[in-house]
Subunit: 220 residues, 2 copies
DNA sequence: GATCATTTCTGAACGCGTTCAAATTCGGGG
DNA sequence: CCCCGAATTTGAACGCGTTCAGAAATGATC
């Protein structure tokens, strides 16, 4: 029965995520996970090559939940500011249970060799899923976003989202109220700022920003 | 002789920084530092409570060097774009020897409990020194920056600088050419973007951005 | 049911950052 | 010169993430 193997894997992952949530990253030792799941340490390593891979498991799960919840909410909102708010707020919502875990997660994720590094190979799928949310938020908005912005905007918004996530990690206000405030304030501002692209003097600056983004994105 | 104590401290710090530069963060173990400096492991810990504090030593040294070099270069440049370029390029210059060390440094620094966290208490002095560079770059520029921007701009630029540093860490192009390109492209764009603040329709958006920044910066 | 390769599992061991009780060295007062 | 409290130094020990040789369970083949 191949299910037995998968069962052990799930057991370890479930125990780990539960402990991450309840007692944080550092106190959740591999030995403690193994003991709680009633397997040997080596057995946990048979399924997860490192503690980081257990973090990746969490990352994927949170990401999937975000995509699901955001898609739901986006059905009812049509202006760009509202859609941005929706995506960002739902993002913070799904991360909420892991707030105390956040700084350790980011310290792990920021290392280029980490499987959870959002810019890295190992999380291509997760990043694409996350990018798709922003693409949907932009493409589905009415009034429509200026054509020339439509291609690069989702990626820039996703980058901004990484910034919001960083802000959220450091946000010690109760319920991370300041992050909510930032989202509520920034989303309409971004929408209004983008609408300025029609003003002739401003348009050129926008073009140059996009040009710079594109030239820097590619290597060389 | 109190100098003997200081001598040991310096010896440990010097050996550590040299090893950080030459073989990176992970291979520079506390045991290796102790052995190279010909002291016991415990003795190294007598002067530095953790490996992180040795990283802090490096951080302060790099910061001081940046302040010094930047102040020098700023004497000869007067337009905002040029001054920004100068500060950013010199920043990258002084970090250069530690590029391979960068990701480990940032992973350490991003943890709120770390002494090198740029937003944390322990590096107030270093942050103020860094902020002062940007304040000088803004205040000393001619033509002058719009009055209403002058107070908050240095902090925002410093924040952007943190972003550039992050980009630099991930930049695997030879000599970090892409980071240089980003700086050369972004600095004039920022200067031009700021000059748009005079356009009536744009001015209001700027005001709102500043208002948001201020309201989010303070708690609650 | 016996055989055997493969998958799954075990726990001791390694090197790491860090801690700490004890040993050593130092410097000033008798 | 000697003594003593403080500063400095030592190295064994702890818990951590990770590794790995080998034991146990599994399932395909006859």
């Amino acid at each position: 029965m191949a299910a037995k193997s998968e069962q052990t894997r799930q057991l370890v992952a479930d125990v780990a995520l539960k402990m991450f949530r309840e007692i944080g990253f550092e106190k959740t030792t591999m030995r403690a996970i193994a003991q709680e799941a009633e397997v040997s340490v080596g057995n946990a390593y048979y399924y997860f090559a490192s503690k980081d891979e257990l973090v990746q498991e969490l990352y994927i799960q949170v990401q999937n939940e975000h995509a699901e919840v955001a898609a739901q909410v986006l059905n009812d909102v049509h202006d760009l500011a509202g859609r941005l708010k929706a995506v960002l707020h739902t993002g913070v919502d799904v991360m909420a249970p892991y707030h105390q875990f956040g700084s350790d997660f980011i310290a792990t994720a920021i290392r280029p060799t980490s499987p959870v590094n959002p810019f890295g190979e190992a999380s291509n799928a997760a990043r694409e899923a996350s990018l798709a949310i922003f693409r949907s938020a932009v493409d589905g908005s009415s009034p429509a976003v200026a054509k020339k912005l439509r291609e690069d905007l989702p990626e820039l918004l996703w980058l901004a989202y990484m910034g919001v996530a960083l802000f959220w990690v450091y946000d010690k206000s109760e319920g991370q109220r300041r992050t909510r405030k930032l989202i509520d304030g920034a989303a309409p501002l971004v929408a209004r700022g983008l609408s300025l692209a029609k003003i002739p003097g401003v348009s050129k600056v926008f073009d140059d920003v996009l040009g710079l983004v594109r030239s820097v994105k590619e290597g060389s």
